[in-house]
């Protein structure tokens, strides 16, 4: 029996969908594309498709999972057809801009002490630099696991890969990130 206090996901409006999923979807878009500019375009394209197909969403899965699947498919199509990848490399890698418009240097730093804020900002930049060296698919898998708490099965559904591949990608992402952070420490 449905819980009357829970919203009926099969009757989600566009505004509700955007409110529930936009921020997190943008985060995934940034991990897939590596920069905010492309992430904006990808997010917009994703939600245009999602809103257009909203009447077909039956609420059987979490709306975010549904949106992420659309986003990953849109991203795969975009990457497959893009002819000028060298220009993308020139414009894309700018890890310092990833947190612009956020209002503060580290979005989740609650401690107001300036020393902590500066240290956190530097740590964030190091992690972002290290993340830029990972493959987009590995970054996306890590984001879906660490921030969204998705299971391996859900990550596999979103990225269109088997569970075994999800396991492998997550290990690769963590190991590569650990290697990069260790090499930055040693530099």
């Amino acid at each position: 029996m449905a819980n009357p206090e829970e919203p009926d996901l099969s009757k989600l409006t566009a505004e509700e969908l955007v409110e529930k999923t936009l921020d997190r979807a943008f985060g995934l878009a940034v991990r897939l594309t590596g920069n905010r500019s492309d992430a904006w375009d990808l997010t917009q394209e994703t939600f245009v498709r999602a809103i257009a197909g909203l009447s077909g969403f039956r609420g059987e899965s979490d709306p975010s999972t549904w949106v992420y699947r659309i986003m990953v498919n849109a991203w795969k199509n975009k990457v497959a057809s893009r002819p000028w990848r060298w220009w993308r490399r020139v414009v894309s890698i700018d890890s310092d801009s990833l947190f612009e418009d956020a209002g503060k240097v580290l979005p989740y730093a609650d401690d107001p002490a300036p020393e902590y804020a500066l240290e956190s900002a530097e740590r964030t930049r190091r992690v972002e630099r290290a993340l830029q060296r990972l493959r987009p698919e590995d970054r996306a898998a890590l984001m879906l696991r660490e921030f969204e708490g998705k299971s391996y099965r859900e990550i596999g559904e979103i990225l269109g890969i088997p569970v075994g591949t999800v396991k492998s990608r997550l290990f690769h992402a963590r190991s590569a990130l650990a290697d990069e952070l260790e090499s930055e420490d040693g530099a």
């Binding site: 409110e19 936009l22 985060g27 500019s37 997010t43 809103i51 964030t124 993340l131 660490e146 290990f171």
Partner: protein, 128 residues
Amino acid sequence: MEHEISKEDLSAFLDEELEPSRNTAIENHLKSCAECSGELDRLRGASAAFRAAGSPPAPARLAGAVLRGKGPKRVKKPNLVVKWAMSVAFCVFLFLTMGKMFKPAISQMFKQILAQVSGAVSSVGSGN
């Protein structure tokens, strides 16, 4: 020591995505294997660093743009190094081009100035 578990299994162990029997086997192995314990700590540290970095928040205007079904035309900005290199290259090009074009006129100007200065010096010297 021969390892019964793979590093990928360690990563999955971190995520609690293994079957209970496999989980138990890994827990028992970790009790006596410093190498695997160290690797697990390393993977755990990477995950923690990733979480601490946070997820880039969406720009304030994006929600409105999405609901309107369109967005501002975003011009791809080249990164700073490329912008500076292009600016310097343009300035050098401009300097070389203008120098070449105006070299005769600039030489003529200097000669005229020199002639006037020499004339002034001579007239002062002769007492006029």
